[in-house]
């Protein structure tokens, strides 16, 4: 009896560790909330993200990414990359050059989005992962967001 419980605990611990490694280094599932990415991603969608790990570090203009919020480190934000290091962004008469090692993030919903125009360029180290595809709702499954 005791042996059985012990082996059950060990087996679940093993699978928990495997799950941790997969979500930490390969891919993860996120539930989106909020309307800052409105035309492309709606509140309540489930997306698969590819973890931005030590191996895979390419981020390009136009990708949708998940990053840690620079102001609250335990919150995540989902935005679109508008510019990577060295490029220039412009809105109206304001323009800024993105420094090396940083990205410029903007929401698709310009009117209601807290983005780089509020907190400035985001260092690449804060990026958590790149959105690969939307899996829920199934009718809106799409690979290119």
């Amino acid at each position: 009896m005791f042996k059985k419980v012990g082996s059950f605990v060990f087996t679940s611990f093993k699978y928990f560790c495997v799950a941790h490694c997969v979500t930490e280094h390969v891919a993860d599932i996120f539930l989106c909330s909020g309307d800052s990415m409105e035309p492309s991603i709606h509140s309540g969608d489930l997306v698969i993200i590819q973890r931005f790990s030590k191996m895979i570090k390419n981020v390009d203009k136009g990708d949708v990414i998940i990053a840690k919020s620079p102001e609250e480190y335990n919150k995540f934000i989902m935005k679109r990359v508008k510019a990577v290091d060295g490029q220039m962004v412009r809105r109206g008469i304001n323009y800024q050059v993105v420094p090396r090692g940083s990205v410029w993030l903007e929401g698709d919903n310009h009117t209601n989005s807290t983005d780089s125009w509020d907190f400035g360029p985001v260092p690449k180290g804060l990026i958590h992962g790149r959105v690969v595809c939307r899996i829920w709702p199934i009718s809106h499954f799409s690979m290119n967001i």
């Binding site: 611990f13 093993k14 928990f16 560790c17 495997v18 941790h20 490694c21 930490e24 280094h25 030590k54 570090k57 840690k68 919020s69 620079p70 102001e71 609250e72 480190y73 420094p99 090396r100 090692g101 940083s102 260092p123 690449k124 180290g125 804060l126 990026i127």
Partner: protein, 157 residues
């Protein structure tokens, strides 16, 4: 069957090891002179233990030594001392300039500096860093044995 069983056990072992390392901490080598005299006082190279738990529970105070991802190059990590936490005002002097600059640290940011003033690439050049970039807290030097010690958190005036 035997080979598959072994491969499976090996994979489980790697996963368990990785999880333990990701949860508790790992060992890293300190390069460079930016933290003299705390680290690398002579030509020796120090190895330190990075503990990830204080970062999870947000218990980093003024004076602690931390490891963070460099805001200019995401492949590099830097080791520095926390000088100011959110809400503080840090007064810094520019080189060959007597005027003082007052920096207010916004919410969710740290001001970090190396112990070796003037020879360190730190917040005086790139500004305060976000809390999300902080990876670990350094509390012990574990190698070489003659320098084995617990690191105190200290605030230089």
């Amino acid at each position: 069957m035997g080979v598959w069983c072994r491969v499976k056990n090996l994979l489980f072992g790697v996963a368990i090891g990785r999880t333990v390392i990701d949860t508790f901490g790992s060992v890293a080598r300190v390069d460079g002179i930016s933290m003299q005299p705390t680290f690398n006082p002579n030509t020796t190279v120090d190895f330190v233990f990075l503990s990830y738990i204080p970062v999870r529970f947000d218990s980093i105070k003024r004076g602690d030594i931390i490891v963070a991802i460099s805001p200019r190059n995401p492949n590099e990590t830097i080791i520095k001392r926390v000088i100011g936490v959110e809400g503080d005002v840090v007064v810094s002097k520019k080189k060959n300039n007597t005027s003082k600059i007052r920096n207010f640290i916004p919410r969710g940011y740290y001001w970090i500096e190396g112990d070796h003033k003037g020879h360190s690439y730190d917040s005086t050049s790139f500004g305060p860093i976000s809390k999300g970039l902080v990876v670990a807290k350094v509390s012990v030097i574990i190698w070489p044995p003659s320098r084995w010690q617990l690191l105190q958190s200290q605030v230089n005036k």
